[in-house]
Amino acid sequence: MARKQKTDSSNSKNDSSDIWFAQSGKYDDVVISTRARLVRNLADFPFPVKMSDDDRRRVQSLVYDAFSGAEEWRFLDLSQVSEPGKQILRDKNILDEDCGAAVINYKDESTCCLVNGIEHIKIISFNSGLDCEKTMEKVYKTDEFLQEKLQFAASIDFGYLTSQIKDCGTGLKFSVRVFIPSIVLSGQFESTVALVRSKKLSIKPVFKSEQIADFSNCLFDIGTTSCAEGTELDQMAGIHSVVSVILKTERKIRSEFADNNPTVVLNFFKQSWARAMYSLLLSYEEAVSIISAVKWGLQLKLIKGITETELNSLYYRVKDGHLKYLCDSYAFTFEDDVKSSVALQIKRLRTIVIQQAFEGIVNEKPVS
């Protein structure tokens, strides 16, 4: 049996409660997180696809200088970062493309800036729950700070100029991650897709699982598709408005669906609960499905003893990079057959993290 240690540590630098995803957010029963990203290119350099190595070094150095002296920012030259280190950045959605460097606000890691990716600069900001305004405010605060020292390429006709035509304009895009099991299971997903598309937004599943009762099927990213239409405020108001409608619909359907299908609901929940408590090795997708089912169980008042915020944070805590970090940092004792494989150790540890997180859960309704 693997020796259990407390596994509630989100990374090496911060206390887990400081990280943005461990904080509570508005409407976090339905909206897991809000992300905004802003892209910019320096005025006096070719865009990344045409840059020489020397240009690359100079751009990186100019961004480094722009941030130097700024408190709470840490500059990472990614050529010096190990693969497990990069995996942690990917898991936190900080690193979502190949680039030369990352500058991270280490206070709560909710804002970062990638350098020399598809564009010279990509500022990303996150918030728990639905908060487009605050998330937008954070990327623009960083943009304003950088504009004191750097000159960005722009024209009155096209706005900020970017490597990809769809990004020129404001350079701003939003993405909101929603959890909508009631809409999916009640068969009302198509009307949600129609609403999203009618407002020129996109909707993409976070995972693609074949199993119908797999709750990872109920997580979606809703995003803006164009940076050139309207002002920043229009773009923000557009996605906020659509997500607010989806939020209300999910909440409305949730109680109706549970009242009309008590056995079906209980079956979904019990299956997931059994997988959580009796498994020894869980993949990330399985873990997401379990966490999502428990989240739904909490919303339907089948259980208590855990919060939406704890469950939302668990989505990040069971990712590969964080678990690998735990394996490397603490002396876990694994079963002999698990010891030999890092992949198995991660799956084993993921199961323990979930079981520990669920220790305090009690059933509100009899589920036996």
Partner: protein, 104 residues
């Protein structure tokens, strides 16, 4: 064939690679880029923010009038979530000018 004088990109190469080479490409291929954006359903002039060195031509008055129109449009479309946001921003803009007037 038209070619960007700074980075040497041609429009064909940009289409193929889906990457624009430099800021000058936007002037060289302005018509082609406009047509591409229209094919994505994006038309009309750019209305968003600009770097400080370019944005002087827009005034707070224009911002307020634009916001008022947006608010009315959202109310007419019964999109009250959107209308609430525009109303809050309009309040901020109005408050900004009132403070300025007060100071004067």
């Amino acid at each position: 064939m038209k070619c960007c004088s700074v980075c040497g990109s041609t429009f064909d190469k940009i289409v193929k690679s889906q990457r624009i080479g430099c800021a000058e490409c936007y002037y060289t291929f302005a018509d082609e880029f406009r047509a591409t954006m229209e094919s994505y359903g994006i038309s009309g002039e750019y209305k968003g923010s600009l770097p400080k060195r370019l944005k002087g031509y827009r005034s707070i008055l224009v911002d307020r009038m634009t916001m008022q129109i947006k608010l009315e449009e959202a109310v007419a479309a019964e999109d009250y979530e959107k209308a609430a946001l525009y109303r809050d921003y309009l309040k901020v803009l109005n408050h900004g000018t009132e403070t300025k007037d007060g100071q004067q």
